[in-house]
Amino acid sequence: MAGTNFKQQIAAALANENLSRALSRFASDYVVSRERIYANKDFGALREEISEAKRRAAGNMEALAARFAEAVSARGAVVFYAASAREARDYIVKLASERGVKTVVKSKSMASEEIHLNESLAVAGVEVVETDLGERIIQLCGQRPSHMVMPAIHMTRQEVAGIFSREGGESLPPDDIGRLVKVARKRLRQKFLTADMGISGANIAVAETGTVIMVTNEGNGRLTTTLPPLHVIIVGLEKLVEKFEDAVPILEALPRSATAQAITSYVTFITGTSEAVDLDGNMAVKELHVVLLDNGRKELSRDPVFKEALQCIRCASCLNVCPVFQQIGGHVFGHVYTGGIGTILTAFFHGLEASEKIQSLCIGCERCKEFCPGKIDIPRLILELRKRVADKKGLPLFTRLVLKGVLPRKKLFHGALRLASRAQGPLVNKKKGTVNLPPFLGGGELKDLPSLASRPLRVRAGQSAACRPHTAAGKKRVGFFAGCLVDFVYPEIGESVEKVLKAAGFEYVFLPGQTCCGYPARQMGDPVTMMELARQNLSAVKDATIECLMTPCPTCTHALKNVYPSLLKEDTLYGELAQKTAQAVYDFADFIYRNVGKQKDLPFKPLKKKVTYHDSCHLKRSLGVFEQPRELLKLAGADLREMNGADECCGFGGSYLIKYPNISGKILDKKLKNILDTGAELVAVECPGCLMQLNRGLAGKANNGVEVKFLASLLAESLCR
């Protein structure tokens, strides 16, 4: 669980307007330019090639390391195998002192940052000069990179001018970027020409040829590897690929995914030693050392789940599209590798405890997964990390009490919710239908939560004549799985679904035995409780006479369709039922559009309103449903207005809202701006979580009367008018 210090760091990051402004602006530009640069490339095919090559290499890491070492030695290099960060550091520091090195020029190398090389060299009296402009800025002001590809993205030109002015003892104009770059060129050129050692990293290392490939824009990589007579390359074992041709798809994807370039200015293939000039100015053969760095990578390659992280090519697109990263940047992550993939790498390179807090930053929107050129399921890996942290450290007492003691006991859980709905009375704002909890119940920062319904859907379903199951011959019986939010907070959504279903000629069957789908438990690192809840829900499905199942909650749909089958794979009693059920689960919009929408035979009365549609994370990315709701809105006569970033998270994220209300709030603000910018009167959503979040947001804002409506409710209204 996040500690006070960590929360303070987050608060500080959120308060840094330069950081969030720079990151948000980049994030919106990035998506557009990335798409443009991939226009003539098949991203799907590229990521297949990359993941295949990287998977093959990771599965064969030791053999490839040996092959690489042999090949590069044959071309004159000295290879050192470093099992740990300390071994790598010690080797390089010893080499520097043996050769009498006074100045080192470095081109950007995350591996060198990972092993804290600069500090060790400085202790040994060696001057280390970072030559990548961003890294140099960061080095001069004693900060840390805020982004893996753009280390100084959080700084303004004025700040940089100040830093360079102090460095050179001359006063530089505060807003002339061209001048600043010229100054950096001049000062660093002197360092390049006098340095005795160059240190660089690698983007790819080809085992069969002993080739190290570097991708850069500034050209500092070429100078670092050309000018000093002594060169050290630090190669993390995960950079290895088997064959020369394996590098091709990585080189095609890396610049496109990292900076939306088809190619960077310089791509350099170094195979062994080459001509150089020694310190006296005479022609010589360069002395080349390659440090092969393990430091947790082999352990990663042996892990059945986490080995997938080795498919990373360090493009940082998972950072660029992450709604959380856009708000807080990289500093909060505490180590060199940041964002989604950084969270996993940190756990292996710096220890599980180093990732204990940062793993909780993932909101689970799954957007990074769509963009990853290495085809890594980053959200799944973070979830697994969360589970391992929970297994090792144990869940916090209150969380454990709820997850283990209350949630699996259906009667107790539902009884507690009923009790709470009566107890909330004095706290409810009847006009808004919201409740502000006192701080000791997790309120405080969290305003305008929806109040619990006085009568949940499960009670209404049993009592209202309209909802009572009746068997009409020939009608398809559709089971309704409400999910907790619809059942206990928004029962009217269930009734809207029922209206639309009936109008479309289906039978609506509320499953009385249903309970929480269990997804929140898994999100908190407790898949065991989710398994128990899955069995309870599958029993409820078994007990009902239905032909298919529909839910109004994308997270429940995702759980039933995608999570239950793998979770219960080994379960002899429920495994098969989980598979069968998964085949028969539909989201509301998907079901209606499939069965009736296409034939346009629902008697809609045109809505005639400007409507914008917000994609729920799970509905779009886990279930692939995004066209159907838009088509239904059009059929219902809505004037559909697309917003910017319609599929970007609203900041709800289930328990995330309670854990990180301030991050959630910032993500929500961005979403609200995109909504209001469309000039729509209505926002249609298809997820009760998004509904709750957007309602909260609009309640606290000058909102021009914009309303949030559930798609089913909109359709029901349009049908019944």
Binding site: A22, R25, A71, D132, L133, G134, I137, M150, P151, A152, M155, T156, R157, V160, I177, L180, V181, K182, R185, L188, R189, F192, L193, E208, T209, N217, E218, G219, N220, R222, L223, T225, T226, L227, K243, F244, E245, A247, V248, L251, E252, T259, A262, I263, T264, S265, Y266, V267, T268, F269, I270, T271, G272, S274, E275, A276, V277, D280, G281, M283
Partner: protein, 197 residues
Amino acid sequence: MTLAEQNRPADTLCDELYEEFKNKAQLLSAAVYRYRSYKEAAQAIGGLVSAQKAQKVAVEPAPMLAPLELKSVLAGKLADLEKGDVRRAAGELDMGVVFFNAAIAETGTLVFDASPLKSRLLSMLPPVCVAVGNTSGLVATFRQAILSYAGKNVSLPSYLALVSGPSRTADIERVLTVGVHGPGELHVIFIDEMGGA
């Protein structure tokens, strides 16, 4: 290469590749020219030197550049890199002239076997780089260019360099600025005439 491409006259394909290269390289702020003969190219280089008011120029001693006979064109402005510290000397140049082995149309990229130190120094240290090569060195795609080195193993150049446009950075407020460490100007000259040693 598709069958249609194979059946097309070689010079038509060459024209198309050149046009694509030119478009792509110009987008990366490189200047691109094409000349029929070495003689014309040499005159053009002389013109660039005058236009740039370059006082010190050096030419990579590559056999493929010999037919340019730049000694006569650049009389008095050619720097001697044979004596003393070549790093320092290259650092004082106004312009470097280097040979490129191949060019990639898809990305506007030049491919250099930069194993000879001077190829690297002359293309990186002076503020202006003039890269000269044969039009026949054009290939269509990045993939094609890289794969032509696959399987070479022992004969793989020790320093293979791909260059696309001048040196650039966007590290301060993401504003694109050229000429940060390498050249701020890249001039690419294609010569149709086959020659060189």
